[in-house]
């Protein structure tokens, strides 16, 4: 046990109180928009399988930052739901350690027609639901139709399926019948999927929670009670959920599913999960040996950095400044470049965040997608596109001011209202005003929902913003900067960028390496030439992780972790 200065502890508590009070619920969209604030949460990173042998009791004790809001895959929208759906249910494919889809309920790789529109997938015949029913092609047809049916009121259904599955958009708009959805059971164990257009990332989309199967008889029989508690659910994944009743409890338990088709490769017997929202409580529980992983916020990092249990794991979540070109000054590329270059990003991640986050110098994060032929990381291929450089920033600034014919610029800066967000915004404003003479920034710190509302109305000059991916493809980071994107609120309008992305999204869909190159080129235009956004950092999470826990897999999208191959080595 460590001796702690109790005053420091008290201070840390006060700080974490504010954090928790201001940031709840912002941070947990699976593929969701990020809050632009770095919040502490109970997720950590991954561990590679390390060729050890399981020994001791195969029980994993975890904490989660919030309750599972729903276990109904048609209604799931957040990271916690997708996490535990991913452990207890299984779709056609699941992501492996290299973040590539591998067959799960599907028996092998899909057969894809030449135009890429028709996918035929054979299902394994030994997969069963926890009531003994076999998992059949109809379970997928039923689940997907349910997710897109406007009567269901699903959020992620239309988000994940519109413009992907044939007729999905029309059905969701009420213009077509659900039976017309592009998915059909051509046999008990054969599924035929028809796409609206070619979707290069469709294979990885099939690993996502919204595409999980549902047992039609069971779901229909349960009606409104379906998924209300762990007893109103059926499972076909590596684990079975028990004692989950979000009305009354803040804990649940997973036990190994002996009927799972791949049960022989599942080692863990039990996973106990409790909801703990306070970072300091999690740390205390970890110190007491009651849990095997605890997320750390920056005030705890100093204490634990260097310990054997301390780990950081970069996430594919980027933060950047959005610059609204409706503003005359920000319409000038030199002014934007000056802003992007004048911030010392290294100090930002080292001092303010202190959780292993890394400076970001582009629009696509590290370790997210690799070149389809060479396997090289997107980030490695394009390198740093804009870096901190105060001298150059000053040159651009003066050039920009000259073009504008003024010597001072005042901009409205829109930021978040959590403690960390405020601290970060203060730092950014301080850096910008100090390095760029004549610049003054007016900060408004507003709650997350208000920031989104102002974003939609383009009611800002500069905004501290963030983004998490929706699917495994570089376009999830690049499409939103096209001039006709629904997320384009900063009035960036580059014909060159638009046409590059148009090509990548249409003509090059059948030539994936060329498409990848096109997107590399587009990113250069976006950041190096136009500096439409000022990249800040790629987030990491810091956590304490029991060294005896091995084989937990970390995923760049969908469920954060996979415990299927995890084990304890005492």
């Amino acid at each position: 046990m460590r001796k702690t200065n109790w005053l420091l502890l008290a201070l840390a508590l006060v700080l974490s109180m504010f954090l928790v009070a201001c940031s709840g619920g912002n941070d947990d969209n699976a593929g969701g928009n990020d809050s632009g604030e770095d919040t502490s949460s109970e997720e950590g990173g991954s561990e590679e399988a390390e060729g050890g042998e399981p020994s001791g009791e195969q029980v994993l004790n975890l904490i989660e930052g919030s309750q599972i809001p729903t276990m109904d895959s048609s209604h799931a929208t957040d990271a916690v739901a997708f996490q535990w759906l991913g452990e207890t249910m299984e779709g056609l494919y699941r992501l492996n350690e290299e973040a590539q889809p591998e067959p799960a309920i599907a028996e092998g790789e899909p057969e894809v027609s030449e135009d890429g529109l028709e996918w035929t997938i054979k299902l394994r015949e030994d997969a069963v639901w926890s009531n003994g029913d076999p998992v059949t092609a109809n379970d997928f047809v039923f689940a997907w139709q349910r997710a897109i049916d406007p009567e269901t009121g699903s959020e992620y259904g239309p988000f994940m399926m519109n413009d992907v599955l044939k007729n999905a958009t029309a059905i969701n708009n009420g213009e077509a019948d659900v039976e017309e959805l592009g998915v059909e059971a051509t046999g008990d164990y054969e599924l035929k999927i028809t796409l609206e257009k070619e979707v290069p990332y469709f294979h990885s989309l099939l690993t996502f929670g919204t595409y999980l199967p549902l047992n039609e008889d069971f779901v229909t029989e349960q009606g409104d009670d379906y998924a209300l508690t762990s007893d109103n659910l059926l499972y076909n994944g590596p684990f079975i959920l028990e004692d989950w009743d979000p009305k009354a409890n803040e804990s649940w338990k997973l036990t190994k599913n002996e009927d799972y088709w791949d049960a022989e490769n599942v080692t863990l017997e039990t996973i106990n999960v409790n909801v703990v929202k306070e970072t300091s409580t999690g740390v205390n529980l970890y110190e007491n040996g009651e849990i095997d992983r605890a997320g750390l916020s920056s005030e705890f990092v100093e204490k634990y950095a260097g310990s054997e249990d301390y780990r950081t794991m970069p996430e594919p979540v980027l933060f950047y400044l959005k610059m609204n070109q409706e503003n005359e000054a920000l319409a000038n590329a030199d002014i934007r470049k000056a802003i992007a270059m004048s911030i010392d990003k290294q100090s930002l991640v080292d001092v303010i965040l202190a959780n292993g986050s890394i400076p970001s110098n582009a629009a696509v994060p590290e370790d997210f997608v690799t070149h389809p032929e060479s396997g090289e990381d997107f980030r490695e291929l394009n390198g740093d596109l804009i870096t901190s450089d105060k001298e150059k920033a000053k040159e651009h600034w003066e050039k920009g001011l000259e073009a504008l014919g003024t010597d001072s610029v005042t901009l409205r800066f829109l930021g978040g209202d959590s403690e960390v967000a405020k601290e970060m915004d203060d730092y950014l404003i301080n850096q910008l005003e100090e390095n760029l003479e004549g610049l003054s920034l007016e900060l408004s710190s507003v709650p997350f929902e208000e920031r989104i509302a102002r974003d939609e109305k383009s009611d800002y000059d500069i905004q501290n913003s963030g983004w998490g991916p929706d699917y495994l493809d570089a376009s999830t980071w690049l499409n939103m900067w096209m001039s006709d994107s629904p997320y384009m609120t900063m009035n960036y309008n580059s014909e060159k960028y638009d046409s590059l992305m148009q090509e990548a999204n249409n003509d090059l869909l059948t030539d994936l390496p060329a498409r990848f190159d096109k997107m590399l080129e587009a990113e250069k235009v976006l950041i190096e030439e136009d500096t439409a956004i000022a990249p800040l950092y790629q987030r990491s999470r810091a956590y304490l992780w029991r060294p005896s826990v091995k084989g937990v897999q970390f995923n760049p999208m969908g469920a954060d972790f996979t415990y299927k191959h995890a084990y304890i080595e005492e």
Binding site: M17, Q67, T70, T77, P150, E155, F159, K247
Partner: protein, 309 residues
């Protein structure tokens, strides 16, 4: 008395109705929507969802629908926790918070009263000063600081109590202590001040002259009169316990109603916001009623003034 209570109950329902109305319209002013994927969905997709969940109706219609359901005792189902009935959520969460709150209230006031009595008896002695210091600390330091310190020292360093979670009596001890500090400090202060004044009054001197024993004097004549101001502050104290539980439940990971309330506001979960707001309002009004009735029992003068029958 019965008529008085009936009258108060009628007022109570009017107040509740006003609160329900005000919070309904205020809540609708919150930015954002209950849809988590809001930023990612297109306007057309959002429109379909609004339609499906009747959020597109004009506000007055939504309000009337809501009231209609409310009078039938139906609080609706949660948006975030898909389809979970709000009434059941409240019913399973309230007992947990009530358990903590009642325990803290009882322990806080009893120990506080004892502390106050001792301080008054030995006023301006070292005991009085010590009790004073405890009160000042209890009033000025927020309960979550105590919670954090308790958790670290009793839970981690000494390992004698569970760090967090809910289940056994042992789990309730630390949250109760953390919550009890504030009522303890307040009651100690009030009882001391009032008792010193009462003990100096003429009727006490008379009673003492008549040879009433010290204990009778203190509890029958002294304390009873000193309690009036304490009863007055018990209402606000109970309310501060309610807000205290919001934080304490979070620190000790207790599945109570306070924690649920905060979450629902953060996520625009309208049905749960309304359900918890109404519950808290109802609870507060009830406390005020109980205190008014208690006044009558403790001080007959108020009883006469309150009800004519």
């Amino acid at each position: 008395m019965a008529k008085y209570i009936f009258q108060r109950l009628v007022y109570m329902f009017i107040t509740l109705f006003i609160i329900a109305t005000a919070s309904f319209f205020l809540m609708k002013q919150l930015p954002g929507s209950p849809f988590k994927a809001e930023e990612k969905l297109s306007a057309a997709q959002l429109e379909i969802l609004y339609e499906k969940y009747n959020l597109n109706d004009p506000l007055p219609i939504q309000y009337l629908n809501y009231l209609g359901n409310l009078f039938q005792g139906d609080l609706g189902v949660s948006f975030q926790m898909n389809n979970q009935p709000v009434t059941e959520i409240l019913m399973s969460r309230i007992p947990v918070s009530a358990h903590l709150g009642i325990q803290a209230m009882i322990i806080g006031t009893i120990i506080g009263m004892l502390l106050g009595v001792v301080a008054a008896l030995y006023s301006n002695s070292i005991i009085d000063y010590a009790s004073n210091i405890i009160s000042v600390i209890g009033i000025s330091i927020p309960s979550f600081i105590f919670a954090g310190l308790l958790q670290y020292y009793l839970g981690v360093e000494l390992g004698i109590l569970p760090v967090a979670f809910w289940g056994s009596f042992a789990h309730t001890i630390m949250p109760t202590i953390a919550l009890a500090i504030f009522p303890l400090a307040i009651s100690a202060r009030f009882v001391r001040t009032e008792l010193i004044e009462v003990l100096g009054s003429d009727y006490i001197v008379t009673a003492r002259a008549k040879g009433v024993s010290n204990a009778t004097l203190m509890f029958k004549h002294g304390l009873r009169n000193a309690l009036i101001p304490l009863v007055t502050v018990m209402g606000p104290m109970a309310v501060s316990l309610m807000t205290g539980t919001l934080v304490i439940e979070q620190i000790f990971a207790v599945p109570g109603i306070g924690e649920q309330f905060v979450t629902s506001i953060m996520t625009d979960d309208f049905p749960i916001i309304m359900g918890t707001t109404l519950f808290f309002a109802f609870f507060f009004i009830l406390i005020i009623l109980v205190i008014d009735i208690l006044y009558g029992i403790i001080d007959p003068r108020i009883r006469i003034a309150g009800g004519k029958d």
